[in-house]
Symmetry: C2
Subunit: 134 residues, 2 copies
């Protein structure tokens, strides 16, 4: 079912500092900061040869990563995103296997404008998994 | 400097259960368990279209992931591994930028038989980064 690793998302307390580390110390190609008010984050894309790292800074009090940063003040790896061909078929297959889809189970429009859903970390080794329709 | 994302490593308390979740619920291609006594883990490779997830179960009391699993009993994302062309040049560049290389700073032979080193998580947004010479 899962295809490519779309991205690894890293929550960071200071987006400018994180961007500078990836650009200057790690020599990576980084984007400009991209505010995503609908998703409660500002993101910088780090383009790797085969996939992407997304550096996420919280935006607004309702940011979905605010709680994570309270627990991990230095930041940390927040989730991984795997691509699937058909997100509704994926959700059905996951539920049949006993895995829990977060929220009401309906795909939402994600930060890339494509349908996404999130899986319960307790069903996947403490890892928050996003699925995105490719 | 950094090239491909070589792998995302996920520490898991129960390798059989984790492998079954990736194989059956996520429909991924998984390897047989591969004991790596020199590295204190048993690993299952999850092959994705563009990179790999490595499921790591501790092996022995001195396992380098034992402490992580004590803090995160369900498991969690342990590190990311980026490829570099020249690991000694990478280490020099990192130190020049003020980043800390873990241990004595000398590359070690990693689980894939190639030179690796690890960077201090506090210098990289709480993320443990492995560099592997490609």
């Amino acid at each position: 079912m899962i295809g490519r690793l779309n991205h690894v998302a890293i929550a960071v307390p200071d987006l400018d500092a994180a961007t500078a580390q990836y650009r200057d110390a790690l020599g990576a190609s980084v984007s400009e900061p991209l505010p995503q008010p609908d998703h409660g984050v500002t993101v910088v894309f780090v383009d790797l040869a085969n996939t992407r790292v997304e550096l996420l800074e919280p935006r607004g009090e309702e940011s979905p990563i605010a709680g994570f940063l309270q627990k991990n003040p230095n930041g940390g790896i927040h989730h991984v995103c795997y691509e699937v061909a058909d997100i509704r078929a994926a959700a059905d297959q996951l539920r049949e296997q006993g895995a829990r889809v977060l929220g009401d189970g309906e795909p939402k429009t994600g930060a890339h404008g494509k349908p996404v859903l999130f899986l319960h970390p307790k069903d996947f080794q403490g890892t928050l998994i996003e699925l995105e329709e490719a």
